[in-house]
C-alpha cells in the first residue's frame, strides 16, 4: 500500500500540524517551546488564519520561532514585540497579530511595551512563555525567577534584598482595562496541553472580535537552565512555580 492509502483523512487520529515546518528545532529536548509552538500552529490552521496572521518573535530561545511556524513573521528587538505588534495591528486591522515572548522579553526589558500595548487594548494576542530564567543567554536570573532559585547570576539563590521579588507581570496586565482575557496555562500534562490550546484559541478569537488584548502566560520549564532532567523539571515546576504563578483565568470578559 502507498503511504497515501494508509494515511487517509478519515483514519487520521493525530499528525504533525500542517503549519509546523518539517525542520529540526534548536530547542533543548524537554523544552516547553516545542509543545507551545505546536499548539499555536494547530490553532492558526484550525481557525484558517494562516494567510492573515503575522507573528512577532522575541529575543530569547524563541528567536527562531519564524523558522518553525508557517506564517509571516517580524523579528522584534528584545522586549519590543508589543510595540511592533501595535503598529501591524493598527495598520492592517483585518490581520491577526500575535507576539510570542519569554519572561525577559515581556517583563524585564519589555515591561513598558507590554503594559502600554495592553493598556491601549491593542487587538492582539500575547503568548508569554514564563520559565523563570533566561534560557538563550545561558540561564541568568529573570524577573520571574523565584526567591532562592539558583541561576547563573544568582549562584547562591535569588535574594529579596538584592534582586527584589518575582514579578507577577500577568497580574499587572489583568488590572488594565485594555485586556479582555488574561490566563495562565501549562503544557506539562495532557490535560493542561488541551486547556492551553483552548486558551490560545480563545485569545485568537478575541483578537478577531477586536475585544482588546489577550495574554496567555504559559508557565514552562527550562530543564537546561534549571539543570534538571525534563521530567524533574516538570516536577519542580509543579511543586514550586504554580504557587507563585497559579494556573487559571485571571480575567475573562
Amino acid at each position: 500500500m502507498e503511504i497515501e492509502e494508509i494515511i487517509r483523512e478519515e483514519n487520521k487520529v493525530y499528525c504533525k500540524p500542517e503549519l509546523l515546518e518539517q525542520v529540526h528545532m534548536h530547542y533543548c529536548p524537554g523544552c516547553s517551546h516545542g509543545v507551545i509552538h505546536k499548539l499555536v500552529a494547530e490553532v492558526i490552521a484550525e481557525m484558517e488564519l494562516a494567510d492573515k496572521t503575522v507573528g512577532v518573535s522575541p529575543v530569547g530561545c524563541a528567536v527562531f520561532a519564524y523558522n518553525y511556524i508557517d506564517v509571516d513573521w517580524i523579528e522584534a528587538a528584545h522586549g519590543r514585540a508589543p510595540a511592533v505588534a501595535t503598529a501591524v495591528s493598527r495598520l492592517w486591522p483585518d490581520n491577526v497579530v500575535f507576539t510570542y515572548q519569554g519572561d525577559g522579553d515581556m517583563s524585564a526589558i519589555g515591561t513598558a511595551e507590554s503594559i502600554h500595548a495592553a493598556n491601549r487594548g491593542e487587538n492582539i494576542v500575547m503568548i508569554f512563555v514564563n520559565n523563570a530564567i533566561y534560557g538563550m543567554t545561558g540561564g541568568q536570573m529573570a524577573p520571574t525567577t523565584l526567591i532562592g532559585q539558583k541561576t547563573a547570576t544568582t549562584p547562591y539563590g535569588r535574594r529579596v534584598d538584592l534582586n527584589g521579588h518575582p514579578l507577577e507581570i500577568t497580574n499587572l496586565m489583568a488590572i488594565l482595562d485594555g485586556t479582555c482575557y488574561v490566563t495562565r496555562q501549562s503544557v506539562h500534562t495532557p490535560g493542561n496541553v488541551r486547556k492551553c490550546k483552548a486558551a490560545i484559541k480563545k485569545a485568537f478569537e478575541n483578537a478577531i472580535a477586536k475585544k482588546g488584548t489577550s495574554v496567555v502566560e504559559v508557565v514552562a520549564t527550562c530543564n537546561s537552565g534549571w539543570k534538571l532532567s525534563p521530567e524533574k523539571a516538570n516536577q519542580w515546576m509543579a511543586e514550586h512555580m504554580f504557587e507563585k504563578y497559579p494556573l487559571g483565568d485571571l480575567k475573562n470578559v
Binding site: 494567510d51 503575522v54 528567536v63 508557517d70 509571516d72 517580524i74 511592533v84 503598529a87 501591524v88 495598520l91
Partner: protein, 371 residues
Amino acid sequence: MPEPGETQKNMKEDIRLMKGNEAIAHAAIRYGCDGYFGYPITPQSEVLETLEELMPWETTGMTVLQAESELAAINMVYGGAATGKAVMTSSSSPGISLKQEGISYIAAASLPALILNVMRGGPGLGTIQPSQADYFQATKGGGHGDYHLIVLAPSTVQEMVDFVGLGFELAFKYTNPVMILADGIVGQMMEKVVLPEQRPRRTDEEIRQQCPWAATGRLNGRKRNVITSLELESARMEVINHQLQARYREIEKTEPRWEEIDVEDADYLIVAFGSIARIADTARELAAEKGIKVGIVRPITLWPFPTEAVNKAAQGKKGVLVVELNAGQMIEDVRLAVHDALPVEHFGRLGGIIPSPEEVVDALCDKLINK
C-alpha cells in the same frame, strides 16, 4: 485647530503660513503617509499635535498614535515598515538617542522608514534651544553596526515639506531608512509654504505588489516572509553586509544633493547646512560689501555627503569656513573632501546660541583672511 475644508479627502495644492513642525504634519498627510508614531519632546511636539488636530484617520485613513516613549515609537515604525507601509516618527536629540536601537534594526532589515530629528542643544538633557550637534549621530551611525541613513537637511519650511515626499521616495527606492535632520530654528519658525496636492495612500494590494517582501499575511499560500536582522551563520552574514554596502555605494553615486551660491568667483567658501546656511548666505552679502568674495556650499544630503561637489568648489579657493552649531562635526567631512589641500576652519556657537551674520563674517576674517 483645522480650518474648514482642511481635512477633506482630496486636498488641493495650497499656500499657507506655518511653522516647520506643522508643515511636516501637513506634508505627511499629503504625501500619503500610512502611519505616524511619536512622543512629545520640545522643540518638535507640534508634529504630533498638528496631526492629532487634523484627524487624518477620518480622511486618508492614516494612523496617528502617541506612543509611550520614543523607544516604543521607533519600534512601531519598524513594525509598520516591516509590512511595507509608509511610516514615520519624529523626535529631538535625546529622543533620537533612544531610537538608535530601532534605527539599526530598520537599516539592518532593509526597511523603508522616515525619521525626523529636530535638533536641540546637548549633550544629555541639554537645552531646548536649537543646535546641529547630532550630525555625527545621524551620518556616522548612532546605532550599532555598519549601516547608513540617508540624511536630508532642510533649511526652509518649504524644504521640511518637500523632504517628507523626497524622504519617502528615497526610503522605498532603496528600502532604507531616511532621516530629516532639522534644527529647532526651522522647526519653530513660520514661513510661507506650498503644500502639495493630496497623494492618495497606497491600497493594501498596491503595497503587496510594491513590497513583495513585506510581512502582510501569507495570502494565497505564498512562501512566508520573515523580516529579521539575525544571521548567526557568519558566511551568510558577511554576504548580507556586502549587500548593504553595495546599496550604500549606489546611493553615494546617485543621490548627493547640494546647493551652491556664488562659488565660481569666490575666494573663500563657507560650508553650512540647515537654517545656518541662510545665516551664512547673509554673511556672504555682508562680506561682499567689504570686498570679500565668498561662496556658499550647502550640503542638502549630509549622507551621502556631496564630497565631489565640495572638492570641486574648493578648487582655487584660499580657505573654507565651516559654520555649524556644534563643536566641529561636518568640518571633518569637508576636510576629507578637500584632502586638507587648503585651510579649513570651524566656526560655531554652542548651547543653543545662534550666531549673527556679522559674527560669521568676523570669524571668516579672524580664522582665515587675517591669519
